[in-house]
Symmetry: C2
Subunit: 371 residues, 2 copies
């Protein structure tokens, strides 16, 4: 299909593949789609290595990056900010998480300190990430926290890099347009990760109507060619897919969670703030029952909640991967309602090509029904 | 568009117009769609009069009816059942509703006793409604409470009447198929009224994949031609629209609520059990804030909650229509997220024809983008 997105990015299929695994990003790009690295968990050095690897794999084909960049940079030392945030986590919450791990018998495990995620909220942290991103031949940069700061938009325009932003309501879109963003991603409530309450079917045409000439992508509920054709029918210039790649061979998620995804139905997700501090759709497991139980503390706001639970999740993932019964009960990850359609683990390139081919086939069938 | 639905029902457009106003049903049918009377609030005599009127208006064109028929008939006297149910409403709840009306200064008003709604849960009550429906030349009968009872399916098959049922999850669809239903309506979470949590974009293809040869209609999030084209792309044989007719001139809702709908955004609805006892999407107002406030009682189950609040809603509607400030704060009605797209009040026939024409136009545009 030819759309405003395929023309803007110079790709064959209007399919954006959003994933934290560089191998998925490269596979989607190599299959004629557009891979976007979900880079919010990476520090500057790691990001540099990942982008370099993607470029080696894709031989000049276009790709993009999605960073956790705050709307306004906070001056100050990243280490100081992290320390002051850690100090704000109440003892009640620390005890609750310790007690939860104990109750399910989760063994200790070596964990990685992700304090650079909170550090990226400061000017030096954010600038370091942007320096790495703009040093690479990215074609698109998306900002995951509200409207992008003017610094990001100015650098992108100067380098001819397209800016994109996810929106869950009309008023978000208006702020993004005011900030100068080029591409709006209308993300429906059925999507995995941080998402609002309005469904893709309603949100997409609503955003299209206020976006003017800007291409709008639909996100949420799109994992096959029928859903892609539906998104284009709604007026989208393409689809922004996240969850579907969790059923790809290249995705880095542990097998324990991939197996839970394969067994799940579309009714098995929920929007919960217990992982990041903001409502994010994920697989519903014993983890959520524990936080919902009477007497459990209320989740903290972002970024305190992820700082509180990050270590716990690394331990749960490791134990679940080793087949630990308690960890398998808790084990979860961000995923949209399309999880119910996962039947097998396939290469990301095959998913991309199949989705594009099925979408074209669907449009041909519909055209054949015109009176 | 020609689809399995247009062939099955002998209509021009695969658009079902579901509404409690006979005038909307007639207008949709006369415009080439298929009107379905939402008849769950009518007693047998009133239903008879409404169906007779629709038939006078539509000159032989097909239409259908949606009844509140329980999965299993409860033997016994309707009046006894109603009395025993009334006795189950706790004094705390009666006091809360009285206090709420007092707080907002809602004046008394003459109200209609809808006890026949609860009475229709008994064998004599349900049979009386079915007798009326099957005496008329209906082409389709939908049952609003779970799978239709065998009595209903047998009478429909004998008379060549199509049976339809709304489903919000795959397991509901399986029960409906086992009960012998002909048409499945996949109703997404964005829909108005009783609805589940899975979005139309995800639910529709999921139900299509298990429906076999049965036509599937998409419901929820469909109020224009783009959304209709999207529904067909998802594999639906047509659309089942409810909310959009609340913006039609023929709809019987009071102007007070229609004006609130015109001013609302897609973010202004919620799923709440405070009106019927089951989660139903409606416009969010002060009514919901009051029920959510600390110390408020939990809503009762269906059918106790509607028996509890029915009088109150008749008084609120009447006062809101007279411009009463407190009533306008509480005033609400069932509506889907598409409420954000309502721009003006139009004839239902015009809405039908426009949706069909825009859908065809959209499919033509998509076909022009094929590579």
């Amino acid at each position: 299909m030819r759309t405003a997105l395929t023309e803007l990015l110079g790709v064959e299929h209007p399919i954006v593949g959003f994933n934290r695994s560089p191998a998925v990003v490269a596979a989607v790009t190599n299959a004629g789609g557009f891979g976007v690295l979900a880079a919010s968990v990476y520090g500057a050095e790691e990001l540099d290595a990942q982008l370099t690897w993607i470029e080696e794999q894709t031989g000049g084909k276009p790709y993009g990056v999605d960073l956790l960049v705050p709307e306004k940079f906070v001056p100050g030392d990243p280490a100081d900010l992290v320390a002051s945030m850690r100090a704000q986590i109440p003892e009640e919450h620390l005890q609750f998480v310790r007690g939860l791990l104990e109750k399910y018998g989760i063994p200790p495990a070596p964990t990685v300190d992700h304090q650079h995620v909170a550090a990226s909220l400061t000017t030096p942290g954010a600038v370091a990430l942007l320096d790495v991103a703009f040093k690479h031949r990215i074609s698109l940069i998306a900002s995951a926290l509200g409207a992008p700061p003017p610094e990001l938009v100015a650098r992108a325009k100067a380098q001819g890099v397209v800016t994109a932003a996810l929106v869950g309501q009309a008023r978000h879109a208006e702020r993004q347009i005011a900030a100068g963003v080029d591409v709006l991603v209308a993300q429906g409530t059925e999507a995995g990760g941080h998402t609002g309450t309005i469904a893709t079917m309603v949100l997409t045409p609503e955003i299209v109507d206020i976006a003017g000439d800007r291409p709008v992508l639909a996100a949420g509920g799109i994992a096959d060619g029928r859903q892609m054709a539906a998104a284009l029918a709604l007026g989208a210039a393409g689809v922004w897919c996240g969850s579907v790649w969790l059923s790809s061979a290249e995705d880095v998620a542990v097998a324990a969670i991939k197996n839970k995804f394969l067994a799940a139905s579309s009714a098995d997700t929920l929007r919960s703030p217990t992982r990041t501090g903001k409502p994010a759709r994920q697989l519903r497991t014993a983890w959520h029952d524990e936080w919902d139980a009477p007497g459990s503390p209320k989740p903290l706001p972002l970024p305190l909640q992820p700082m509180l639970v990050d270590d716990a999740w690394q331990r749960i993932d490791a134990a679940a991967e080793a087949g630990h019964e308690g960890a398998l009960k808790l084990e979860s990850f961000f995923v949209g309602q399309v999880v119910g359609s996962f039947r097998d683990i396939r290469p990301a390139g095959e998913i991309t090509r199949q989705m594009a081919a099925d979408c074209e086939q669907r449009v041909r069938e519909l055209a054949g029904r015109l009176s």
